[in-house]
Every structure is written in C-alpha cells, then in structure tokens.
Amino acid sequence: MTVKVYVPKDAAALALGADRVVAAIEREAGERGVAVAIVRNGSRGMHWLEPLVEVVVDHERIAYGPVRAGDVASLFAAGFLEGGDHPLRQGATKDIPFLKQQTRLTFARCGIVDPLSLDDYRRFRGLTGLEKAIAMAPVDIVTEVTDSGLRGRGGAGFPTGIKWKTVLDAAGPQKYIVCNADEGDSGTFADRMIMEGDPFVLIEGMAIAGLATGATKGFIYTRSEYPHAIAAMSAAIEIARREGVLGPSVMGSGRAFDMEVRVGAGAYVCGEETALLNSLEGKRGIVRAKPPLPAHKGLFDCPTVINNVISLASVPIILDRGATFYRDFGMGRSRGTIPIQIAGNVKHGGLYETAFGLSLGEIVDHIAGGTASERPVKAVQVGGPLGAYFPRALFDTPFDYESFAAKDGLIGHAGIVVFDDTVDMLHQARFAMEFCAIESCGKCTPCRIGSTRGVEVADNIAHGVEPEKNRELLADLCNTMKFGSLCALGGFTPYPVMSAMTHFPEDFTPAPRVEGGGMSETEKLKGPASYFPSIEKKYGQPIEHWKAIVRAQEGKAHMQIVAFLKETHGLGHGHANALVAATLAENA
C-alpha cells in the first residue's frame, strides 16, 4: 500500500531544507522497499515546525516537525508511516493548538491541498464562488462584496466593494484587474504563502472581479524576490487556462477573462498602487498624484481595479458562503478575518488567520509564545517598515483598523515583528529613515530629501550632538513628511520614527547614558575614535566595514590584527591600531 506523505514546497519550508528532507525520504523508502507518494503542499503556516512532514494514517494527517534530513532515518525506524511515536511527532495536524484556534477562511486550503491540482481545489469547494458569480448580474456581485464588509488587506483598508462599483460604473472599452502582490513589507508573507500554497483561489478571486466589473484582463504584479510564488502562480494560470477557468469563455459562461504574472525589479515603492501601475506600463515606478483614481484612470489610463492578494483571495469564499457569513466575523468596521503574520524574534512564528479583535498582547505573548531569545519583549512593529512600534503598555490594543489608528499606528498588511530588549530604538528609527531614503521614488521632496535629513538627524542624536534640539527637529521633519508626502512611503515613515521616540525616549538620550552609565570603555574609545573621520576619508570605507574585518580576526592578539590590517589592507599603523583598539574595546 502506498502511504501519502506531505512535505511543503513553500519557500519557508524550502529555506529550512524541505527538498533535502524529500530526497532523504525517497532514498530511505527505496532502501526499505516501502511505497510512498510525496505531495508537495503549501505551508500550514506553523513555520517553527517547518519542514512539517505529514503522513496520512487512517484518513487523518499526523504531523512531524521540524524535520531535518538527518531525522528521516529515525522517523522510518519509529514507524512514522503508520503514525509511530517520535520526539518530532506533533499529533494530528488539525489538533495542534496554533492551528486549531484559527478561523481559516482565506487560507482554508493552504497547506492542505496540492497547490497545482485543480481537482483538489474543486474537492475543497473551489470554484463554487465563481460558479455562483457567473449566474449573477455584475451589480449583484459587487453588492455581495460590499455587504461582506471586506476592506483592502494591503493596508489602506478601503472597502473593496466600493472600489469595484466605481470601476463597474466607469465607461471604457477595456478595463483591468490588477492584483498587488508586491509584498515588500518586512514581517509579511501572507501573499507569498497563498500564491505558493493555493494559487487557484487568487485566480478565482480575480476572475470574479473581472465578471463583476467588466474587466477582461488581469495582471498579478509580484516581486522578483519571490521566485517560488512566481513559478507556482504561472503554472496555476496555465492549468486554469487549459481547463477553461480562464480564457475567452470563463467556465463556459461566454465571458472572457485571462491573466498573467508580471515581475517587479526590486523597488519597494512599487507596492504603492499608482507606482505599481507605472511599473506595469514599463515606466519608472514613480507615484502618481490622485485624482484621477485608478478606478477611473488606472492601467494605460483605463478603469482599473487594483486590490491586494488577500483581498482578492477572500472574494471566492464571500461569493460561495454569502456576505453575511463573512461579515459575522470581526468587530466594529473591521469585518471578516485577517491573516496575521507573526515574525521576528518569536517562538511560534507563522501565519495565524483569525477574526479581527484579538489584542496585541494575546498575539505576542500567547499565540507567538513570546520571544525566541527568551528575553523580555521590548517593542512590536505592526504593519511593516511604515508601521508604528508598540511598547508593552499598548498590548491591550485590539487588532483592527480603527483601534490601531487611534493609537497612532496601523495594521497595514497585518505583519507583526517582535523585538526583544536588546533592540536600540534610535537605531530602528534611523533604519526607517534610511530605508525610506533607499526606496523613495524621488517624486516628492518631503520623502526624497526628508528621509536623508532624517538619517543625519538621528545620527546627530546618537552622537550626542545637541540631542534636545535634534529630537525637536526630528519630530518637525516627521510632521512635514507625514503631511507633505505624496504617498504612504514618505507619509508613513514617521510612524516608526515617532512611535520609537514617543514610547522609548530613553533610547533617544544617548549623551546622559554615556556620562552617567560609568562605561569606562567609552572613555577609552574617545582616543581611537578620534581617528575615525580620517580613516573613512582616506580609505573610502565606513568604520563598520573595518570593524567587521577586525571582528573576523577574533582570537588573535592585538598587534597580530594590526599587522594583518597593515599588510592585507594597506592601512597605516596609527589607523590600524585605532581600529583594533576600538573594536576590541566594544567586545570587552
């Protein structure tokens, strides 16, 4: 009898060695003469258990994880193909608390099905939403989506149905559905997971959007950093086209809809919808001024629906089960479910889909299980690089759009990144400005210039240069960026900066810390550090570059490293000596 074994092909599982596990299982099974059929599924979203190997025993899936290739022989020895006991055995997958407590609507199939099996997809209620949509008038589809309360899951939270209505009502010979899969926020991976784990649900959602608005062409714009998602999505589109789900007559309806995947080129700002449209058109990813709205003049100046992956992937279940079913989840004006992505320094990282309304503290302390480092949580950044840092004092904030906005934050694409108490919040504020400077499209001045100035001001604070004045300047700069920038990149960069400064003021007062902290190393540093400007100028490399080189020589004696720097890198004796003294003092 052939035993069915699931090993995810999700990028997170691959990054942790899933392919090596598959090879080991095949080899071991071959040697033992056991027949196994390996299915490459998506991820269940419990990434600390990846690669999560599941075995079907008596129609139930038993989980083992995290499995490394070296564990495979012992798994066979323990009889894992019959569900045998093993230290990595997690029991029935569906009963693992992290999974059991979730409400999986959008991610209902992710990790369960073979992502590229349309039969699997149909077996788990796939295409029923599209079938119902085909039988409905466009305006009724739009009403259903509006009534569900679905809001844009990309971060802005704009009601999806209203966007669709605008496009439906707009006149034009050609309309487009554009899926924003440019998931560049650190701490988010929901789009990637659904594209790799259940690509047909996105295809179905976009086809429904096409039928609802009269658009016949769709584009999925995703990131070059997501090669596995690109491959899965492209293969699924091929299959859907072959099976008549896409094409001149969607499922025999006589109405056309087709789509293709387009790949960005490493520009974060292209996640902003108008920059994305410019990029799709083959231009620089420069933000457009609104109005006109994309719904009126979008891609190639045609009426365009532009929605996030998760918004579109939530549409099939809304059409299938009805608006009321979906709306009954959630709180206030945040209806339905949200796939929370738990990342950073956590014990239990992964994807947790649940109704809106859990408190941040529940998510961080209970679901995520606290930090991986076992140190206290200091800050949680919610909503990506443009999201605010939340201190423990705000852990009672419920996870919904309005509650986070009320605390000067945002839920964004629902990624949360946890930091332990070793994090320096001034450093994080500086990074937010640095990131904005790297990724700014350059169209508006507050973002283009403000971000670079922000880095300088943060550096001045760090170096104790008129810290009070510079903190005021930083706040003023943030105010200008927030209200003067054209899009969310410059407009929201102040969120991480200001939240860091507001909630963690102690990290923004480095000067007193030096004097009062009794750090004698700092005194010693003053000598060697005085060489730093001339070292940077003379050799054209930042001090960090040299410190990294010195640190790699750890274990050697001071003068040995000095000699190494002189011989290998051509530094003068005084400069080499200063660098070694300063670097070793840091580690002392």
């Binding site: 691959l14 990054a15 650190s186 991976f189 960005g264 994090v423």
Partner: protein, 158 residues
C-alpha cells in the same frame, strides 16, 4: 552565465525585443529577459530597446536605473543576498551581515577579487518568521546563525 558577452549584444537584444514587444507594457519583462541573457543590462542594448519600443534612449535609461534589480555590470559567479529588513534584524541579521562581509572581505554591492561572490542587500524575502534569511543564486536559506552563515559563504566561494 554572464561571462560571454561579445559583440553581438545588439543582435541578441533585438531577438529578445522582437519576441516580446507585443506584450502590454513590455519594457520590464524585456529588461528581465536581457539581464537573464547577459547577466546584466549592457549599455549597448539600450539603443536597440529604445528604437524598437519607440522610446527615447533617456526613457529606457531612466527605467533601467530606477530599479535595484537591473545592473550595468556583471556580477560574480554567485550572488549572495542577505536580508537587512526589520524581522531579520530582530534575530541578529546585522551580526550575520558583519560576519559574512568579514569572511568575504567585501561590503554590500561589491564582488570578491576572485570574481566568486557578489554580496547584495535585500529588503525582505518573505521568510520573516524564520529569520535571518538569505538567498544564494535564487535558493533561499532561513534561520541563519554564525555557523550557517559561514557554511553559506563556503558554498558561495566554490
């Protein structure tokens, strides 16, 4: 793959552009294809693209230089990308980056003298729940620590 650029840049560019210019908004797909063909976007291909798409050369140059992905020179034999974004920072990505830089003796955006490895920063690979992460020639790696980073550098050095 990118060490064989010869005088036929224009001809090979023309073949790519001709095959792809029928698409809606073809410039980015064309540039990706050219980079896949040559390993970077050669200056000599820009006039061909501009002519075939009826754009000015300045417009094409503007697009090529806007996006971080497109390079105007070849990389080393291997490209190692280290994630520098917040989730990875929270799990020690800065220390991993410092170690990798020291082991390779180069900074970001540089190539080792033997032409083996180009080191690049990347801002998020979507592996934030198993940070820090990296990508070596398109293969993803997660949960890096000092030992894993050293191993990765050894692999890249091959």
């Amino acid at each position: 793959m990118n060490l064989h650029v010869s005088g036929d840049v224009a001809a090979r560019t023309l073949a790519i552009v001709t095959a792809m210019k029928g698409a809606e908004g073809p410039l980015l797909p064309i540039l990706h294809e050219i980079q896949a063909e040559f390993g970077y976007v050669p200056q000599d291909s820009l006039p061909v693209i501009a002519r075939e798409l009826n754009l000015s050369r300045a417009e094409v140059h503007g697009v090529v230089t806007f996006y971080h992905d497109f390079r105007d020179h070849p990389t080393g034999r291997h490209v190692l990308k280290l994630c520098r974004a917040e989730a990875c920072q929270s799990m020690g990505a800065d220390a991993v980056a410092a170690r990798v830089k020291a082991l390779l003796g180069i900074d970001f955006h540089q190539t080792t003298l033997d032409g083996a490895v180009t080191l690049e920063p990347v801002y998020c690979l979507g592996l934030c729940s198993c940070a820090p992460s990296a990508m070596l020639d398109g293969e993803v790696h997660a949960g890096l620590d000092a030992a894993a980073a050293t191993e990765l550098v050894r692999e890249a050095r091959r």
